[in-house]
């Protein structure tokens, strides 16, 4: 199988990798780049566990072919903390117990970041709709929504 050479910026670093045409960006990130923070919950775009930001847009990486990532700027959960300082969302998820098993957490963090970047003061309903593409089976969402509200508050305060 011919492999395509891809150049991207991932979590701030220029990153190159080889991939086959049919490989999903999720598998390329996990297998080729070694970033396993994004998870596969379904592989069909229905759970959001694989959510990452591609050119600042929240994207299901399981639905995107790896070659499409050429020339893009990607942020995964591994790049969310700023050289060791947790992003307010990460801090609020921790303090608010917004995770149980934690498999959905990377996806929720990325989707919530995309929301707060666009809308720094969302209502509860806006948060619920913005995160409706992310499944969590453990928490019942209550503490996740509260953590995002808390992070929004904190980020506005800065």
């Amino acid at each position: 199988m011919p492999r395509t050479h891809i150049t991207t910026v991932i979590n701030g670093d220029e990153t190159e990798f080889l991939t086959e045409d049919g490989t999903s960006l999720l598998n390329a990130l996990r297998d080729e780049v070694g970033l396993t923070g994004a998870k596969e919950g379904c592989g069909t775009g229905d759970c959001g566990a694989c959510s990452i930001l591609v050119d600042d847009r929240v994207t299901c990486s399981c639905l995107m072919f790896a070659p499409e990532a050429d020339g893009t700027t990607i942020l995964t959960v591994e790049g969310l903390a700023d050289s060791g300082d947790l992003h307010p969302l990460q801090q609020c998820f921790l303090e608010g117990a917004a995770l149980q098993c934690g498999i959905c957490t990377p996806g929720f963090l990325m989707a919530a970041k995309a929301l707060l970047d666009k809308n720094p003061d969302p209502t509860e309903t806006e948060i619920r709709y913005a995160l409706a593409g992310n499944l969590c089976r453990c928490t019942g969402y209550d503490k996740i929504i509260r953590a995002v509200q808390e992070a929004a508050l904190e980020m506005r305060g800065k």
Binding site: E40, G41, E78, L94, E95, L99, G102, K143
Partner: protein, 750 residues
């Protein structure tokens, strides 16, 4: 928060610090089952039956074996024939569910597995395995399976629990029966009697992480396994059985687990990774995709349940008659036993008969799902009780209070209850503002209650004091919902050192003593008790070392706030830090082990209050408000107690309104994706209000009861009762989807 007994001055227990494993999980570092990559690792792929019931005539693996990159292809013949070896029937079932031998019993049943260098090569090879089947007639529901001339799944299945034993085989694996008093007399005393029939569909645990396993075999016959599981000791035992090896040859490490809810207490992939790894001499990784998770891993039973109950005018239940049939899927073992014991366990009922049947059918083998068996029975019983309350014009909470089981009540399943907190959960609901909040148009309010035993079982823990006075707490219970935090909190409390000084670890099967599965809401109770025991041994040891240091008798030394103190203050205190630093002089490193088979399980009760709004045009039910009150015994870690309560409720809401397995007439699952099997998302829900009730379990050092399961028992009835309150139709079929609600509304109007 409702607290019925004050926290007796605990410093750590009952607080809400950040969980020990949290940082790795919010930064993407935590390693789950599918995240592991080993040098030279192969990718596996499983071949599954497209038929619900068929005889395997032949399997031709030659084409697959000759494909590029393929290193191993295995079938059922590559495993020992346990039935022929006279193994225990339940072990034979585990093996035959892992990989079929001569018959496939459901669509998705494994028939072969391959391992190849790349994922793509493995997928191609799996497609190239040629299986020839003779398709057999199938049965999909309890009705079909129990019909007189139903095709049989297992030729030798004679119903257990029937006297005299039937001569003919059937699809009924067993019958259970509980009875007390005189049913006829009981119904004679009733002023109102309601009889209804309910059906529920199989639903899946829906954990977001698919099953995953990596196996690495060595030429000496030993193998290392990493897997996503609720109990790696159990996985080791099952895997050894299926492979026909001694458990000691397998070392199993529990990866971080992405949800289980009971569904990861059984094996699917582990032997199918080990065998090709042995063949190829390389590590093999197997990860299911979502479609496989739905088609081949344990949903919980679909059921048919009939309930007849009577009450007197003053609200006393005089009689209850419950008949239920639970789908087991392809092998015996539905949770009908627990269903029979829990169905009416909330109430003190003088006359009853509870009869249940465990029925096999051509669907995936059911696996445990949160309070296995109890939710469906509660849906039926709590719906009928709601109707009875209406008939005698009594409030739903009050009819439950009038019959509630209390300490000393003889449970329907036999023994008398010790101290329990059911009444307190009912009162917590009544005391909450939601109980009196005004409802809008098309809105309704429903109440329902639930019971779960909780479990104890076996646990081990080791505590090491490090040289700087911090401690490592090692257990073998996979942490599925924050249990490492509970362990650390209890250890901090016992040792008197800060929570942050404790590092809780979940160790592999070779590093800590045996632990039963993380399930049955047992970990905080039983593994917690082992941790407490080990910490107490450490404290004893520390006192002795302080006594030695001071040259005084042991009884002159107390352990207070993390330091040894002389009872008369004759010596300056010695902190854990001081003692640890000088441990070499007082007898060497400080550590202790404790193992136990837990005693003192404390039953759990939950009462829930649900407000819905039903759109009469579309039949769509929206949850407006939701309150859950649950007796935790003692909430060691209130954040994660609430998390369990909220998570259980929302799974129950999904079960109530959307979730179901849909099969076509050929027995093929039609909705094996999250798109078509629709679980609740954030925008479907309000906040889930929690009222933690604390009626301490007298038999546990901290009063713990266990909280993981009972929360899923009441929601289906709470939602159904609320729908009835809103639009005056009684829903008797799950899920209460818009179509069914509309049908009911239309039938009602006619």
């Amino acid at each position: 928060m409702a607290v019925t007994e004050e926290n007796p001055g605990y410093k750590w227990v009952g607080t809400r610090p950040i969980r020990p494993d949290g940082l790795e999980k919010v930064t993407g570092k935590a390693r789950f089952g599918a995240d592991l990559v080993l040098p030279g690792m192969l990718y596996g792929k499983v071949v599954r039956s497209p038929h619900a019931h068929a005889r395997i005539l032949s399997i031709d693996t030659s084409a697959a074996e000759s494909m590029e990159g393929v290193k191993a292809v295995i079938t059922g013949d590559d495993f020992p024939d346990l039935a022929a070896n006279g193994a225990h029937p339940s072990d034979v079932d585990v093996a035959n569910n892992t990989i079929a031998r001569d018959k496939v019993l459901y669509e998705g049943h494994v028939v072969a597995a391959v391992a190849a260098i790349t994922r793509e090569q493995a997928e191609a090879a799996a497609k190239a395995v040629e299986v020839t089947y003779e398709v057999l007639p199938h049965v999909l529901t309890v009705d079909e399976a129990m019909a007189d001339d139903a095709p049989l799944l297992h030729e030798g299945m004679i119903t257990k629990g029937v006297d005299p034993a039937p001569e003919e085989p059937s699809n009924i694996a067993s019958k259970i029966l509980h009875e007390r008093g005189d049913l006829e007399q009981g119904f004679g005393e009733a002023d109102a009697v309601v009889e209804r029939e309910f059906t529920t569909k199989p639903v899946h645990q829906g954990y977001i992480e698919p099953h995953a396993a990596v196996a690495d075999s060595n030429s000496d016959g030993r193998a290392n396994i990493w897997c996503s599981s609720q109990g790696h000791f159990q996985m080791r035992a099952y895997t050894a059985t299926v492979l026909g090896v001694s458990p000691g040859t397998l070392k199993v490490t529990a990866a971080e687990i992405g949800g289980g809810f009971g569904g990861k207490t059984v094996i699917y992939l582990e032997p199918l990774a080990v065998r090709p790894s042995q063949r190829a001499g390389r590590p093999v990784k197997l990860v299911m995709d979502r479609d496989e998770v739905f088609r081949a891993t344990g949903p919980t039973s679909g059921t048919r349940i009939k309930v007849k109950m009577g009450v007197s005018k003053d609200g006393k239940i005089t009689a209850a008659e419950v008949w239920m049939a639970y789908e087991a899927g392809a092998f015996a073992g539905s949770p009908v036993g627990a269903a029979g014991m829990t169905a009416i366990a909330c109430y003190d009922i003088p006359n009853f008969v509870v009869e249940g049947y465990d029925v096999v059918c051509n669907k995936p083998r059911v696996a445990a799902y949160r309070a296995p068996g109890a939710p469906m029975a509660a849906f039926a019983v709590e719906s009928v009780l709601d109707e009875l309350a209406r008939n005698i014009e009594m409030y739903a909470i009050d009819i439950r209070l009038a019959n509630a089981a209390v300490e000393g009540t003889q449970a329907a399943y036999g023994p008398k209850f010790p101290r329990i907190g059911f009444v307190e959960t009912l009162e917590a609901i009544k005391d909450h503002p939601n109980y009196t909040t005004e409802l809008g148009p098309n809105q309704g309010r429903g109440v329902a209650a639930g019971f779960w035993f909780n479990a104890g079982m076996m646990s081990s823990a080791t505590v090491h004091v490090n040289e700087n006075g911090t401690a490592t707490v090692v257990t073998g219970s996979p942490d599925i919902g924050g249990s490492r935090q509970s362990m650390a909190l209890m250890a901090a409390e016992e040792l008197g050192i800060p929570y942050e000084s404790i590092k809780p670890v979940v160790a592999d099967t070779e590093t800590v003593g045996f632990n039963d599965v993380t399930g049955g809401s047992r970990v905080t109770l039983a593994t917690g008790a082992a941790v407490v025991d080990a910490c107490r041994l450490i404290v004893e040891d520390l006192r002795a070392r302080a006594a030695k240091t001071w040259d005084v008798e042991l009884d002159q030394v107390e352990w207070v706030d993390g330091q040894a103190q002389h009872v008369e203050g004759a010596q300056p205190p010695l902190s854990l830090n001081d003692l640890a630093a000088k441990s070499g002089r007082t007898g060497g490193p400080i550590s202790a082990n404790a193992s136990l088979n837990s005693r003192g399980v404390g039953a759990g009760f939950s009462t829930q209050l649900c407000d819905v709004e039903v759109d009469p045009e579309t039949g769509v039910t929206r949850i407006v408000r939701y309150l859950t009150a649950q007796d935790a015994g003692r909430a060691i870690s209130p954040d994660y107690v609430e998390g369990q309560m909220q998570g259980g409720v929302v799974q129950g809401i999904g079960w109530a309104l959307n979730e179901e397995y849909i099969h076509d007439t050929e027995g093929v699952m039609e909705n094996p994706s999250f798109l078509d099997y629709r679980m609740p998302v954030a925008s479907d829900l309000p906040m889930i209000d929690c009222s933690i009730v604390e009626v301490p379990n007298p038999a546990h050092p901290y009063g713990v009861r266990g909280v993981g399961e009972v929360g899923i028992v009441p929601p289906m009835a709470a939602v159904g009762n609320a729908i009835h309150d809103a639009v005056n139709v009684r829903m008797t079929e799950l899920p209460m989807s818009p179509v069914k609600v509309l049908e009911a509304l239309n039938a009602h109007d006619e």
